[in-house]
C-alpha cells in the first residue's frame, strides 16, 4: 500500500488539477492513479442515495415545524391562532414515523384553523394530515377528478399508523 504523507500536509480542499493532488499518495502508485480517475465519479455517486434524499427532506420538514414555534396569534392576519405545542408534538411524531418508514411528506405548514398540517403530493394527488389545537385530527385526500376523502382520526398511535398507510396507498397508487 502507498505511504501517506504526514498529516500536516493533508489539504482540506482539493481543487481540480492542483498540486495538492500529490500530497496524499505517492505520485506513481497505482492507488494514486485510481484516486485521480475516480474523484469526480465519486462525487456523482454521492448524490444518488434515496435514503439521503429522504433524510434531507426530513431535516427540512423538522425545521419548518420548528419555525412554527415563532408564530403568534393572527399570524395570517385573518385571526388564525398560533399552533400549540401539543399539535406540533403530534406532527413531529408523524414525521418520525414517516422517516422510520422511509416515506416522506412534501411540506409542513401552520393551519389557519389553528394547528399544523403535513402535506403529501404527487403530480396529480394531494393528501394532508392536520393536527388541530382542538385535539382533532383530520386526514384529507383529493385530486381533480374525484370527490375528496375526509377522515377524522384520533391522536392514537394506531390512527397515526392508519393515516400513514392510507396516504401511502393513495399517493403511490
Amino acid at each position: 500500500m502507498p505511504a501517506i504523507a504526514a498529516p500536516s500536509k493533508l489539504s482540506v480542499f482539493w481543487g481540480r488539477r492542483t498540486e495538492r493532488e500529490n500530497e496524499l499518495i505517492e505520485p506513481n502508485s497505482p492507488s494514486r492513479r485510481t484516486f485521480l480517475f475516480f474523484r469526480q465519479l465519486i462525487e456523482e455517486g454521492n448524490s444518488t442515495s434515496k435514503f439521503l434524499e429522504i433524510a434531507g427532506k426530513y431535516r427540512e420538514l423538522r425545521t419548518s415545524l420548528h419555525d412554527c414555534n415563532f408564530l403568534t396569534d393572527n399570524w395570517d392576519s385573518y385571526d388564525a391562532p398560533k399552533p400549540e405545542r401539543h399539535s406540533m408534538e403530534m406532527a413531529e411524531g408523524l414525521l418520525r414515523k414517516l422517516f422510520a418508514d422511509l416515506f416522506m411528506a412534501n411540506r409542513v405548514i401552520p393551519s389557519a384553523e389553528g394547528g399544523v398540517a403535513i402535506y403529501f403530493n404527487n403530480e396529480k394527488k394531494t393528501a394532508y394530515v392536520e393536527y388541530r389545537n382542538s385535539g382533532s385530527v383530520i386526514l384529507a385526500m383529493y385530486d381533480d377528478k374525484s370527490d375528496p376523502i375526509i377522515i377524522e382520526l384520533s391522536e392514537s398511535d394506531d390512527d397515526q399508523s392508519r393515516a400513514l398507510s392510507l396516504i401511502k396507498n393513495y399517493i403511490s397508487a
Binding site: 499518495i25 497505482p30 492507488s31 475516480f38 465519479l41 444518488t48 435514503f51 422511509l102
Partner: protein
C-alpha cells in the same frame, strides 16, 4: 469460494446500492429505454423520467449571455412498496434496496436480473466503473462517547468542548485488489435526525472500482468479490458494543 454471509438481526442498513457507470450511449437509445416498462412488468409498476438540466451563464466585457437546455437521461422505476428502485440511464444503471435489507444474495441477484434487462434493451455498453454502497443508520444512546460504538471517529484534544452537536467525517481510502480489482473506499460519517435520547450516526461506505470495458461475466464476478470486502470494512468500523446492539 462463496463469501460467508454477515447477518445482524437489527441490521442498520437503510439503503444498499449497486451502480454501474458506462460511457454515454447515443441519445436515440432513450427510445429503447422507454420500452422497458413493458418488460419490467408488475414488480416495478411506477416509473418516472429522469432528465438532465443545464444552465450556462457568461459574463464578459461584450455582454452577458445565458442559455438553458434539458435532455432525457433515462427512467427510474419503483416497486409498489417503494422499497426497491432502479435507474436505467444513458450513462449507467443502479439498483437500490431500501430497508428492510435481507441479505447480499437477493440484493445482488435482483440487481443482476435488472442489469441484464437493461443490457438487452440498450445493447453493447462500455463500462467505466462499478460501485457498491451501504448506507447505515447506527442508533446509539445519547449522550455517549463515540468511541464506545465506533472504531473510526473524530478525536478532540483536551481543552476543546467535549460535546459534539454534529460532525462530518469523510475518508477516501485506496483498496487493494482482493478479487474486485483496485478500488477506492469512501467512508462518510455524520449525524442524522434522531429520536430524543438517542443519536443516529450515518455510516456510509462507498466502494468504487474501475472497470474499463469489461465483459458482463467479469464485471459481476468482481461485484461479487466486493461482498467480503464490504463485510470486513463494516465490522472493522464498529466496536464490539455496537455489534452487540445490532445483533
Amino acid at each position: 469460494m462463496p463469501t460467508e454471509a454477515l447477518h445482524f438481526n437489527k441490521a442498520p442498513i437503510r439503503e444498499a446500492i449497486i451502480a454501474i457507470q458506462i460511457h454515454d450511449l447515443p441519445e436515440e437509445i432513450i427510445k429503447e429505454i422507454r420500452r422497458l416498462p413493458e418488460q419490467v412488468g408488475g414488480a416495478y409498476p411506477k416509473n418516472n423520467e429522469m432528465s438532465l438540466g443545464q444552465f450556462v451563464g457568461q459574463i464578459s466585457p461584450q455582454g452577458t449571455t445565458a442559455s438553458a437546455s434539458q435532455r432525457s437521461l433515462g427512467l427510474q422505476f419503483h416497486s409498489a412498496d417503494t422499497k426497491q428502485l432502479f435507474q436505467v440511464r444513458l450513462n449507467g444503471f443502479s439498483f437500490h434496496r431500501l430497508a428492510p435489507y435481507e441479505s447480499w444474495s437477493p440484493f445482488r441477484d435482483e440487481a443482476f436480473k435488472l442489469w441484464n434487462l437493461y443490457r438487452q434493451i440498450v445493447g453493447p455498453v462500455k463500462t467505466i466503473n462499478f460501485s457498491v454502497r451501504y448506507i447505515n443508520d447506527l442508533v446509539v444512546p445519547a449522550p455517549a462517547r463515540l468511541e464506545e460504538y465506533l472504531q473510526v471517529h473524530p478525536e478532540l484534544p483536551v481543552g476543546m468542548p467535549e460535546l459534539i452537536r454534529n460532525y462530518y467525517l469523510r475518508l477516501e481510502l485506496p483498496l487493494e485488489d482482493r478479487g474486485a480489482g483496485e478500488g477506492l473506499l469512501t467512508i462518510t460519517q455524520t449525524l442524522l435526525p434522531s429520536e430524543p435520547g438517542t443519536a443516529s450516526i450515518l455510516l456510509d461506505n462507498l466502494f468504487v472500482y474501475p472497470a474499463l470495458t469489461v465483459s458482463d461475466d467479469i464485471l459481476w464476478k468482481r461485484i461479487d468479490a466486493v461482498q467480503a470486502v464490504k463485510n470486513e470494512v463494516f465490522l472493522a468500523a464498529l466496536t464490539t458494543e455496537m455489534q452487540k446492539r445490532i445483533s
